[in-house]
Amino acid sequence: MIVLFDSPWLHGALLGLVVSVSLLTVTAAGLLYERKFAGRLQNRPGPTEVGPWGLLQPVADGLKLFQKEQIVPAAAQRFLFLLAPLLVVVAALAGAAVIPWSAELMVADLHMGVLWALAMASLMPLPVWIAGWSSNNKYALLGAMRTVAQGISYEVPLLLTALVPIILTGSFRMGDIVAAQADLRWFALWPPGPGAVAFVLFLLTALAESNRIPFDIPEAESELVAGVTVEYTGMNFGMFYLAEYVHSLVASAIAAALFLGGWDMGPLGSGLHWMLLKTLLLWAVIFWIRWTLLRFRSDQLMELCWRWLVPLGLGLVLFTATWKVFA
């Protein structure tokens, strides 16, 4: 592992800064990519006006958000209202600490790596709830309530599917999990069957955790105006948007490491580029899902989770354990 400084603080801070800024930059680029991609899916060109081929569109969007007036409603709880947009991005970025970018490049190869990622992912409902509660707006509160219900429900299948690579490896360390998938023995492919199901289920629940379509109940602009973000303006609003994208990007990276072999590509070598390619491909799949599917209804979503996904996750865990012990 590359250690930039002897001091773990400095190493973490510098590499963390690089990773955080890269994630935010990639997110800005991803916004343009998504709009172009959605345009193609709907047989239209997407943004073309700002800069050549619309390349400067994210810059223009960012500048616009920076300039907009930040309004705090008179009825809101001012401190919590302004705290929530900050915390929501922190919760989204924090999971990046344990992403194994390559065999050498990691902010922190914690022996509890997977747990750190899952714990940070499950922080997400808290700032959203703070935002919904402090807005003192009925739409915002309804959106926040649904987010918390959805977030904590989908955390259970997320944990259960993440257990599949943990059982197969016998370690929580991200580096170990990727190393155990060397030579293309990806957990998405190798125990044939359950690995693939676990991978799809992990991606689905990660979608639900980051509140993306088809699980974007909390926002649900056609029912709840804009859910928790209804009272937010300018960059405060931008933070929620940013957090959603960063969260799904981090989730793609974690999924790539847990199920798709991370930085390793067998005979084609290994390295940072493979990890980035897999992560971005998964991210593109998330965009693809967003522009293909409709939104679930809130009650359908809860029933899907508790009636189908939780028993399925338990079944996967037991099947994997059987494989591990007896095969």
């Binding site: 973490g12 590499l15 955080s20 920076f66 930040q70 922190v90 016998g170």
Partner: protein
């Protein structure tokens, strides 16, 4: 290497957490400085936005009990996954004994799940 709480990588992770706090804080403060401000405010600008209707009281109302049921189910199943985590780590050493024990544990848990389903805790209609 024996895993330990003093593993220095924890400090790196904490440092990233601090950076992840500073970067968005910087963006928000930057936006505070760059953002325009109206010279003169109208009173209705700070009203709660509820699609043009006059907001009828505060939003902090009673909410539907089904959310409590979800919270209860969550506590039940989340505690169960907490028990599964150390089991997953040591499964290779403990072998078939741990496997059978987990089978019994999940069977008991699924009884509770079946009860919740029969009682309609999952159906939100």
């Amino acid at each position: 290497m024996e895993p330990s709480w003093l593993d220095p990588s924890w400090l790196s992770a904490l440092a990233l957490l601090a950076v992840a706090l500073v970067v968005p804080a910087g963006m928000l403060i930057g936006a505070r400085i760059l953002a325009v401000k109206a010279r003169r405010d109208v009173a209705t600008k700070f009203d709660t936005y509820e699609c043009g209707e006059e907001p009828d009281g505060a939003a902090w109302l009673r909410f539907h009990p089904r959310y409590y049921v979800v919270a209860l189910l969550f506590v039940l199943f989340d505690v169960e996954t907490v028990f599964m985590l150390p089991w997953a780590l040591t499964l290779e050493q403990l072998g078939a004994v741990a496997w059978v024990e987990m089978l019994v544990f999940v069977a008991i848990l699924m009884l509770g799940w079946g009860y919740a389903v029969r009682k309609g805790a999952i159906r939100w209609q």
